[in-house]
């Protein structure tokens, strides 16, 4: 279980609170107007934004003070998810061994992960040689290799077209199933939430509301969501 215990985020005039949990294996969408703090909340969970107060717990263990890389989470950013000067195999390999000294098994695992996301045999290529969708696939392959129990997605597919985005959401679902991961995904598109997430968190007016069933939320949208959906 991932728990946000009385979390308060503060920066200049920005202010956001969150106090809720999600169950292991859940698929949660974070939705709300831009500037409300969806990304900030995700960054706080990942360890890039220290909360003013409150604790972040995974399975009861406090991770609030841990370095980002040490937390049991993997995060995919909006962009810059791959190092452009490294090959795909090296980019993925860094997820397994920070010194890039891969064993035979690890090398095979990299190949396998690439094949799993539809990039079989492309390990020697550099990100610039890939399309946007392929770059997202490579980043997901690394998440697959790292196999952390929580996958945080900060709108990594915002730049992709609708059809490609659907492919990616399906792939995220597959990766999460393979690694038995809980997924938190920031999105500004209600269709993403409906398609992918069983629970949705509404982030608006300085509060990240406790997650509720997605279908229910959209059937009976509260005022803030109505304002956002228009």
């Amino acid at each position: 279980m991932l728990t946000l215990e009385k979390i308060v985020l503060r920066q200049e005039s920005f202010h956001l609170t969150a106090d809720w949990s999600v169950n292991r294996g859940a698929r949660v969408a974070l939705i709300g107007p831009s500037g409300a703090g969806k990304s900030s909340l995700l960054n706080a969970i990942a360890g890039f934004f220290a909360p003013a107060s409150g604790r972040i717990l995974w399975q009861g263990a406090d991770v609030t003070q841990m370095a980002p890389g040490a937390r049991p989470f993997t995060i995919l950013f909006q962009d810059q998810n791959l190092f452009p000067h490294l090959t795909l195999a090296q980019n993925l390999g860094l997820g397994l061994s920070p010194r890039l000294q891969l064993s035979q098994d690890q090398r095979a695992a990299v190949e396998q992960a690439l094949a799993r996301v539809g990039l079989a045999g492309m390990g020697a290529q550099k990100p610039a040689q890939l399309s946007g969708g392929q770059q997202s696939r490579a980043a997901l392959a690394r998440a697959l290799l790292r196999a952390r129990p929580v996958l945080l997605l900060d709108e990594p597919f915002a730049a992709l077209g609708p059809a490609l985005k659907i492919d990616m959401l399906d792939l995220v679902d597959e990766v999460a199933r393979l690694t038995d991961a809980t997924v938190l995904m920031v999105t500004h598109d209600p269709a993403d939430a409906r398609r992918f997430a069983d629970k949705t968190v509404l982030v608006a007016d300085g509060v990240a509301q406790a997650p509720v069933a997605t279908a229910e939320l959209f059937a009976n949208p509260p005022a803030a969501l109505q304002a956002y959906l228009g």
């Binding site: 934004f49 890389g69 920070p98 550099k126």
Partner: protein, 514 residues
């Protein structure tokens, strides 16, 4: 966003070391200055130092205006090469340029031959004339590049609007170009003034005598010939106060550097025709002649001598190479350490540490270190290490400013990814920072190596006859009027300097793919 603790201990240690080196040298000078009375000769050295620096910066910056303007509005074949060559004097060894200037403007050079043919009195290259001429040779290109950046910073739309309103050239100058010049000139003048305050090698070769001695030259004479340590310390202290004072006074003028970003943008508008076209052509031709003739003279004079190079040349070249490589390595590592720390967490103390060397000249640091060490280490043994350390320190500010913007970009783009993968510092350095920064690092190391290779400062102060570097050897040969050998040795020196620069720049370029 990233408010985790950042590893700053290496940068902090380095900053303290730099502060100790420079302020320690100054403190040493303060301790050793025996008398606070300046002799008449010292006053005259102070006056001459300021006078030649002021004249040089004024002449360089003034001449740069028509040249930069012509280069800005004209497009011609070789323009791109020319603007790039304008960056070359920055790394050209001073002794080599002096040798070329002697060949062109000296007693038996073509300029005096032409003056004699016209029945005019000869021009003397020694003394104030020569020092200013050589300073202008080095700083006119620098001023021109800085002004070109200024001209390019005027939005093309403004020129278009001026043309649409059919503003005459004079009005265009008043409304568009003059405000830019007014904003740029103070910084350019001060930058060049500061450079010329510490142009020891020029004063050593073209100055001298009671009338044309700079403070640095007086330090050199006090230390080398009179072994008057107290007087050397006092003079060095004055030099330090002068440079530090100007640096601090100029801090808000944002001192510029004349290399970096390209100058190849498309011409904003059709250039004015009529009499202005031949005028621009004449300005550009004159500049090319002024800057190119001395170098061609060195090449012409030196080529025949390459078959019988002076004895000791290769030992001197080897010494210079070692000095250049070590100081380039030190400077690059130091600049990277400080820039990385500043990129992740901006701090005034880092900027101060990186800029502090601007206030010290090679001779000041050299004198300070000599006074600290001479009781424990014989001068012959300290010459090369001290030279390496001083050269690395003096090139640090340039490298820092070269690397910092790119280091900031790498932090902005990849710091979160690096942290989210939990890469330890060594891995981050090896897989992220070095590859991402390899271009500016290679370029910076190349500049540091070439500067150090051609430097004639501390080494002249401390080295004995057997430990000369290549620039010192050239200076000895000029002093002995063995001009052909000096020119041949100069060619080797230029070849090695630019070879080192080219090599480092290429290494940086190779690693920087995608």
């Amino acid at each position: 966003m990233a408010n985790r603790p950042v590893e700053i201990r290496p940068a902090l240690g380095l900053a303290l070391f730099i502060a100790a080196l420079i302020l320690g040298s100054a403190a040493m000078l303060l301790l050793r200055a025996e008398s606070w009375r300046l002799a008449p000769a010292d006053w005259s050295a102070l006056r001459f130092t300021v006078l030649q620096a002021a004249l040089s910066s004024l002449v360089s910056a003034t001449l740069a205006i028509p040249l930069a303007r012509a280069l800005h509005r004209r497009r011609f074949r070789g323009r791109s090469l020319l603007t790039r060559l304008l960056a070359a004097p920055f790394v050209l060894p001073v002794v080599v340029a002096v040798l070329g200037i002697l060949a062109v403007f000296g007693r038996s050079g073509p300029v005096n031959a032409a003056l004699a043919a016209l029945g005019l009195p000869p021009l003397s290259i020694f003394g104030l004339h020569g020092v200013v001429l050589a300073n202008v040779f080095f700083n006119l290109p620098l001023a021109t590049r800085m002004l070109l950046h200024g001209w390019q910073a005027i939005p093309a739309e403004r020129f278009r609007l001026a043309a649409a309103l059919s503003m005459p050239q004079s009005a265009q100058f008043r409304h568009l170009e003059l405000p830019m010049l007014r904003a740029q000139m103070p910084g350019i003048l001060t930058t060049i003034f500061l450079i010329c305050l510490a142009s020891f090698a020029i004063a050593l070769t073209l100055g001298g005598g009671p009338k044309a001695s700079t403070l640095e030259l007086a330090i050199y004479q006090a230390l080398r010939f009179d072994f008057d340590l107290g007087r050397a310390a006092l003079l060095a202290l004055i030099q330090f106060a002068l440079c530090a004072g100007v640096t601090i006074a100029a801090a808000r003028l944002s001192l510029r550097q004349g290399f970096g970003a390209g100058l190849d943008r498309a011409a904003p508008l059709p250039a004015p025709d009529g009499w202005r076209a031949p005028l621009d052509a004449a300005v550009i031709t004159a500049a090319v002649l002024f800057l190119g003739a001395p170098l061609l003279a060195v090449i012409a004079q030196g080529l025949p001598g390459l078959t019988h190079l002076p004895p000791g040349l290769w030992q001197a070249a080897l010494r210079s190479l070692v000095v250049a490589l070590v100081s380039a390595l030190l400077a690059t590592v130091a600049a990277l350490t400080l820039a990385q720390a500043a990129a992740r967490r901006p701090a005034l103390w880092i900027d101060l540490a990186a800029m502090l060397p601007l206030s010290a000249s090679g001779l000041v640091l050299g004198t300070g270190l000599f006074l600290m060490l001479h009781r424990f280490v014989p001068p012959a043994q300290m010459a090369l290490p001290v030279t390496m350390l001083v050269n690395a320190t003096l090139t640090l500010p340039y490298l820092y400013r070269l690397i910092l913007p790119e280091a900031r970009q790498v932090v902005a783009d990849y710091d979160r990814l690096t942290q989210s993968l939990g890469l330890p510092a060594v891995s981050a350095l090896r897989f992220v920072i070095l590859p991402r920064l390899s271009r500016p690092l290679g370029y910076g190391a190349g500049i540091a190596a070439a500067l150090s290779m051609g430097d004639l400062g501390v080494i002249a102060l401390i080295a004995d006859g057997n430990g000369a570097t290549l620039p010192l050897l050239v200076q000895h040969l000029i002093g002995a009027y063995r001009m052909e050998q000096a020119a041949a040795a100069s060619l080797v020196l230029i070849g090695l300097s630019f070879g080192l620069f080219w090599m480092f720049d290429r290494i940086g370029g190779w690693n920087a793919d995608a």
